[in-house]
């Protein structure tokens, strides 16, 4: 049982990180201008700073409060993200079918209940139906598969 509110603390940390990123990037790379004639960097800098302040308030309050821990499913997150990245990587160089197959095979590893053979079947059925709906049904330009020779 944590003695301080881990979840709220991390929440505040997230806001500080994001706000700091936006404000910092804007201040360094964009012209801020004055209030009367604002440059492109003014809004992100101001808003980012506000976010940092909110985050600081949240995190400091969290240290003095008992709270719940955080549960984060690392495996599922990594598997799903990996499958999406695999799709992104393969779709332009290998075409739709390899991308879908790779993506389904990878994402099926997230839940132990899905066996490899069922995943393969699912990937096949999905490729066919997606091609039917998007390529032939709606006329979307999609490469089915890119042959390396």
């Amino acid at each position: 049982m944590p003695t301080w509110d881990v979840r709220e603390f991390c929440a505040g940390l997230l806001l500080i990180a994001l706000g700091g990123f936006f404000a910092g990037y804007a201040a360094m790379n964009l012209r801020l201008g004055t209030v009367a004639s604002m440059g492109p960097g003014m809004a992100p800098a101001v808003l980012g700073s506000v976010l940092v302040v909110i985050g600081l308030v949240m995190s400091t309050a969290a240290v003095f409060r008992a709270g719940s821990g955080v549960s984060f499913d690392r495996r599922v997150t990594l598997v799903v993200l990996a499958s999406i990245l695999a799709f992104a990587f393969l779709i332009s160089i290998a075409g739709l079918v390899p991308a879908v197959v790779a993506q389904v095979l990878i994402v099926s590893r997230a839940d132990a209940k899905l066996s490899l053979s069922v995943a393969l079947l699912l990937a096949g059925a999905l490729s066919v139906s997606v091609l039917g709906i998007f390529k032939y049904g709606l006329g979307v330009p999609l490469t089915v598969i890119v042959w390396p020779w």
Partner: protein, 511 residues
């Protein structure tokens, strides 16, 4: 002449709505919506995001008809899971669990299911009638709005959405700001400089709304749900005859449905609040005015019909501010606004006069959609119930695939697919840390508008901030926004004060 007469407008609407294409996509929309609503865990926003890419190949009116169908359809289907499984299919149906599930346990599930469909239809019809009457006058008022008024209205909408969302209002406001920041990426209109594009050509037009919505709502939902325990036990048999209510139940339901529709209509128009708040308010009201309040929570039919009327009515009236003023009041409306903008249409007060067939066609198709839903839900209840048996581990790979493919077909850019992953991660982290996602989407869509109107107002006033306060309408909007903030602060201070002496005194009676 100002415009066509009411009857002429309805005729235009009817002609548009009954075109074969619009009817087909309305049917698709409401069916998908019901399906999505029935399954707990997949929200209507995720479904709308997934079908977003398809809408780009459709006529804009058709696109909005379909997306809207998904949205109000999901509220119909959501009550099914609430009643049968005590799990809300959508947040707006959470209240239906309170009295719907006890009704199911008493063997009256069929009645509850039928009455919620009827109540939803009733509420929607009232909401649509209000749409027909009020949108045009509201649009005429909005034509006189200038940049200061728009800015203040947007601020009001964003603050309302931020403080009323689930979770702490501080987190809600934080998410709105984050949304505005992300929305600022891209080419800056005034200086021509690139902001936050990191040298990527694909980001010059800004972050893709599709990628953001799909990642934030779709991918994050999948990540959160994959390992959740999905064993649903369904033990009720639903036959057509078991659905007929007792006559006194019918009699007890009329007034609650009226009251619910009224609350829903009012709540729907306000920015920031929507069907969920309407349903909860309606339930509280019914319990207060009932002659038998002790029945609530144990299968009172009013506790089921009134909130369903409320949320369906709110579904319809939510379109009024979006159509009349171009200011969306919720994340769903923001998505629909995004669709229109991607088709090159800027909704605003002129939309009704410039494209009457879109507005009136939409309204008529809403009514057609609700009729379709009534037909879909009542006889096909058995089918929907069986769908709840599909194991999730077969569903989620399909969902991720559709998300990836969908976003790729919009821009043919792998960068957008990567963005989906990035926002999926962000969305999941936000979920774990208790941040609401809807305000982020709202901030993202409205942020550029907010900045544009602010800078224009500053140019008009030559740097004088007072312009927002000297113009009466703008001042009114900002005052309401300030009231919201004040109210929330007072609430939290009161809650904090009540919590601290609780340790010293015996536990106070719950009010």
């Amino acid at each position: 002449m100002m415009g066509a007469t009411f009857a002429e407008n309805l005729l235009i609407g009817l002609q548009t709505a009954v075109s074969l294409e619009n009817l087909l996509y309305c049917l698709i929309g409401v069916t998908v919506g019901t399906f999505v609503g029935v399954i707990p865990g997949i929200g209507s926003l995720a479904a709308m995001s997934m079908l977003f890419p398809i809408t780009l190949y459709l006529d804009p009116t058709t696109a909005v008809i379909m997306l809207a169908g998904i949205w109000y359809g999901s509220t119909y289907g959501g009550s099914t899971a609430s009643i049968l499984l005590n799990l809300p299919g959508t947040p707006a149906n959470a209240v239906a669990c309170l009295d719907g599930y006890p009704m199911a346990q008493q063997g009256r599930a069929g009645v509850a299911l039928l009455m919620t469909s009827v109540a939803s239809f009733f509420g929607a019809s009232i909401g649509i009638s209000l749409m027909l009457v009020f949108t045009e006058p509201l649009a005429r008022v909005a034509v006189s709005f200038g940049s200061p008024e728009y800015f203040s209205l947007l601020v009001l909408g964003l603050i309302a959405a931020g403080v009323i969302s689930e979770g702490s209002p501080l987190k809600g406001i934080g998410m709105i700001i984050l949304g505005v920041l992300i929305g600022g990426a891209g080419l800056d209109i005034y200086s021509g400089q690139q902001r936050f594009t990191f040298g990527l050509l694909e980001l010059m037009d800004g972050v893709s709304l599709v990628a953001l919505a799909m990642g934030l709502f779709g991918v994050s939902e999948v990540i959160a749900s994959v390992r959740a325990n999905n064993a649903h036990v369904l033990k009720h048999k639903i036959t057509l005859r078991s659905m007929l209510p007792r006559p006194n139940e019918l009699r007890r339901s009329w007034l609650p449905m009226f009251r619910g529709s009224g609350i829903g209509a009012f709540v729907g128009i306000m920015p920031g609040v929507g069907p969920t708040v309407a349903a909860f308010m309606s339930y509280s009201l019914e319990r207060k005015v009932s002659s038998q309040p002790e029945k609530f929570g144990h299968g009172a039919i009013e506790g089921v019909t009134a909130p369903e009327s409320a949320n369906s009515s709110a579904d319809m009236t939510s379109f009024i501010p979006t159509m009349a003023m171009g200011v969306p009041g919720s994340a769903t409306m923001a998505l629909i606004l995004g669709v229109l903008m991607m088709h090159g249409i800027t909704p605003g007060p002129n939309l009704i006069t410039e494209r009457p067939e879109m507005f009136w066609g939409l309204v008529v198709s809403f009514w057609i959609g609700n009729v379709l839903l009534l037909v879909l839900n009542i006889p096909m209840i058995g089918l929907w119930v069986r769908i709840l048996h599909i194991p999730y581990h077969l569903l989620y790979p399909v969902v991720i695939s559709f998300i990836c493919i969908g976003v790729y077909t919009v821009s043919s850019s792998y960068v957008d697919v990567v963005l989906v992953g990035v926002f999926g991660l962000l969305g999941y982290v936000m979920r774990v840390l208790g941040f609401p996602a809807a305000p982020l989407l709202l901030g993202f869509v409205l942020g550029p508008m907010l900045e544009e109107h602010f800078r224009r107002a500053m140019i008009i006033s030559r740097g004088d901030f007072g312009i927002f306060f000297t113009r009466p309408i703008s001042l009114a909007f900002l005052s309401v926004a300030a009231t919201f903030i004040l109210w929330v602060c007072i609430k939290s201070i009161r809650a904090r004060l009540r919590a601290s002496p609780a340790g010293a005194q015996p536990a106070p009676k719950a009010d």
